[in-house]
């Protein structure tokens, strides 16, 4: 009898394993199901004006989104017309995915300066979003600004 019970137990576990393997392969490539492999932490290092800053980021099987947080960053650039723009913030979170890239900003100060035409436009706001793809800067949460006219 013990031998028979042992045989039955072995058969049961073999069948169970076969069923699990079958379910795994049927779900794996089925678009109606999504296998969550969990979030894999990444470490990104970026240079800022105040030094290095690191933070954990996350990946997702549906859309790979990476984030990194910078303290006291400054972004300075010059457009094709020669105007200098500068954005500073107490904190910036870089949001990058396969389809877009943007910066979430906290305590933002934005400047647009055109020496050639003496244009001087500046804004401050508690929050901001800079879309790197469209180059559109949106400030929110109560905005104050000044336009010094030529």
């Amino acid at each position: 009898m013990p031998l028979m019970r042992k045989s039955l137990t072995s058969v049961f576990f073999t069948l169970a394993a076969a069923v699990l393997v079958g379910v795994f392969f049927s779900v794996k490539d089925n678009p109606r199901f999504r296998l969550d492999l969990g979030r894999t932490p990444l470490e990104l290092v970026e240079e800022t004006s105040s030094g290095k800053s690191t933070s954990p980021t996350k990946t997702d099987i549906a859309a790979a989104v990476a984030t990194s947080t910078l303290e006291n960053p400054e972004y300075i650039g010059r457009d094709a017309s020669g105007r200098v723009w500068k954005i500073s913030a107490s904190r910036a979170t870089q949001m990058s995915s396969t389809s877009s890239s943007s910066l979430e900003l906290t305590d933002v100060a934005a400047f647009l300066n055109d020496d050639a035409h003496k244009l001087d436009l500046n804004f401050t706001a508690p929050r901001g979003m800079l879309n790197n793809d469209t180059e559109v800067l949106t400030l929110s949460g109560g905005v104050r600004g000044t336009l010094n006219r030529p």
Binding site: D114, L121, F123, T138, G141, V143, T146, L147
Partner: protein, 152 residues
């Protein structure tokens, strides 16, 4: 047609352009969007603009820039323009357009102009920031108004 006495107009003509050019424009709003490719700044939500003795309130304000210069300021939604001082007035409308070059403010849609206790209503107001002259026209050629004839 609203006109100030000749001496006041002459005084404003001589003095105001220098004040207006020297004064910076201050903005206050819930949010602002800057689109460099379009050279456009859009402020939204309880927009308040101050330049010296003049204020402009609206729900949305679009500032167009060309070759480093602001070329047009368009205010939309419950527009209120005020000026304090010797040439004090208050004007309301649906939209207002300000052209920095010729210092002209144009209000359109359900315009109400109040100055020195007198109120005029029309559909289009052109206000010269240099001279203080205001021209109000009605939608179908008619303007309605109420004048305060009390003697202070």
């Amino acid at each position: 047609m609203y006109e100030r006495p000749c001496m006041i107009r002459l005084f404003a003509l001589l003095l105001f352009p220098f004040i207006a050019l020297a004064e910076p424009i201050h903005f206050d709003a819930d949010a602002v969007t800057y689109t460099p490719r379009e050279d456009r700044v859009v402020l939204t939500g309880s927009v308040h603009v101050v330049q010296g003795a003049t204020t402009l309130d609206s729900q949305r304000l679009t500032l167009d820039i060309a070759q480093g210069k602001p070329t047009r300021m368009l205010a939309e939604g419950r527009v209120l323009f005020t000026r304090t001082g010797t040439d004090a007035l208050e004007a309301r409308g649906d939209t207002a357009t300000y052209i920095p070059g010729n210092e002209t403010l144009t209000l359109t849609g359900n315009v109400t102009l109040t100055r020195a206790g007198n109120t005029l209503k029309g559909s289009n107001l052109t206000y010269d920031l240099n001279t203080g002259n205001a021209k109000l026209t009605g939608g179908n050629g008619r303007v309605s108004g109420q004048f305060d004839n009390r003697q202070d």
